[in-house]
């Protein structure tokens, strides 16, 4: 290992952040390299000088706690005021959304990433509202049943070749439909008695 590389590791050596093997290599190098020894001793000296800068902090606890309790009281008062709860709810919703986005950033599941998740959400909402908007409204009960029973009965009783599938429901003469009991007819056709 060359001199430059060893020099770059000196800082980590001082902080005891190297592997045992690396430490041994550096110690071996330090035995014959004066420049590295000088650099290491300067680092050690400056460390002591910097450590001397630490001094007792002024008592900030009282000031912090006074402000903190005042803030908490104000925010509680806001929440219970006439319109304050709207602001509080909005703030919470925004915080929640930000948290969701932040949490999803690191995820490996592509579906939960912000862009994919929002696109999926928008599409789902679009489909839901589209379905609700286009869903047929006020469909008469008889017409719905006509599709399955009425037309078939009419075709059987009048003209089996005539189809009225393409016609609008309103033109189907509902009153002329044979609504009688077909049991006998079927019995004759299929059982032959």
């Amino acid at each position: 290992m060359n001199h430059k590389r060893i020099q770059k590791e000196l800082s980590a050596y001082l902080d005891d952040e190297l592997t045992l093997g690396m430490q041994a290599r550096i110690e071996a190098h330090l035995r014959f390299c004066g420049e590295c020894r000088e650099m290491l001793s300067a680092f050690q000296k400056n460390r002591r000088r910097l450590a001397a800068l630490v001094h007792p902090a002024p008592p900030i606890k009282d000031a912090v706690m006074t402000q903190l309790r005042t803030q908490t009281a104000t925010s509680h008062a806001d929440e219970f005021s006439r319109f304050g709860w709207i602001a509080a709810a909005f703030r919470r919703a925004t915080n929640g959304l930000t948290d969701c986005i932040k949490a999803s950033r690191g995820t490996k599941y592509w579906l939960f990433r912000p862009l994919t998740a929002s696109a999926t959400g928008i599409l789902t909402l679009g489909l839901l509202f589209g379905f609700l908007y286009l869903y047929p409204k006020n469909v008469p009960y008889e017409d719905t049943l006509d599709i399955y029973f009425g037309l078939h009965t009419e075709q059987l009783s009048e003209n089996p070749l005539k189809s009225n599938v393409g016609l609008p429901f309103s033109t189907v003469p509902v009153t002329t439909m044979d609504t009688g009991d077909d049991t006998e007819l079927f019995r004759e056709l299929y059982l032959g008695n």
Partner: protein, 212 residues
């Protein structure tokens, strides 16, 4: 909490010698810290008071190391605690509370520096009535004799780049591990290692300039 209770708890934590006493103390500290944060999240201001007492010294010292100014450091430390309280609900225990708090302190200190730098760009009145700008004419030895070691180091620290100053403060003043520093600064362990080395070299150069 009484000393006896604490000792008993420590013994329970050390699990009959399976982990070292030092690790047990650290684990116990972290467990206590976690409980306090949970209480804060439930809106307990008394728990926050304990956290403030526990970390006010280091919050202030880190801010002071970065800013080099007593009043500003005090304001930043206070602000950091208030921000921590307001956003405690967002703390997800991905790191230690102290690491999270120091990150807030660091960000607030750097914000203040950039604010000052922006203000500096405004036009200012220059008083050129004096023929020269008075500077420190005392030699480093004289300063040292007067017990102003601190001022020399502080001045050298102030001349360093922001990133160098911050990393030196976190490592040399607070003695944080590389892992914790990387979490605070949001960079890799390799980057911490190389930046710290550069910072130490820069400080060495600055101190050598004053022949100290």
């Amino acid at each position: 909490m009484s000393v006896a209770t604490l000792t008993t708890d420590m013994d329970t934590y050390s699990k009959a010698g399976t982990i070292s006493k030092q690790d047990a103390v650290k684990e116990y500290d972290m467990e206590q810290e976690r409980e306090l944060v949970l209480r804060c999240q439930a809106g307990d201001a008394d728990a926050m008071e304990i956290l403030v007492i526990r970390y006010q010294h280091w919050a202030y010292n880190i801010a002071h190391g970065i800013l080099g100014h007593h009043e500003d450091a005090q304001d930043v430390a206070q602000d950091a605690f208030l921000s921590a309280w307001q956003n405690i609900g967002r703390f997800k225990f991905r790191s230690r509370f102290s690491t999270w708090l120091y990150r807030i302190v660091k960000n607030k200190s750097l914000n203040l520096i950039s604010q000052y730098q922006r203000r500096k760009t405004e036009p200012m009145v220059i008083d050129d009535t004096h023929p020269y700008v008075p500077i420190h004419t005392e030699s480093p030895e004289a300063l040292a004799l007067r017990g102003e070691y601190r001022e020399i180091v502080r001045a050298a620290l102030a001349k360093l780049r922001e990133s160098h100053r911050t990393i030196l403060v976190l490592r040399e003043l607070r003695e944080l591990s590389y892992q914790e520093i990387s979490e605070i600064l949001g960079c890799t362990l390799g980057r911490v290692k190389s930046r710290l080395h550069e910072a130490r070299k820069a400080l060495k150069v600055e101190l050598e300039k004053v022949d100290w």
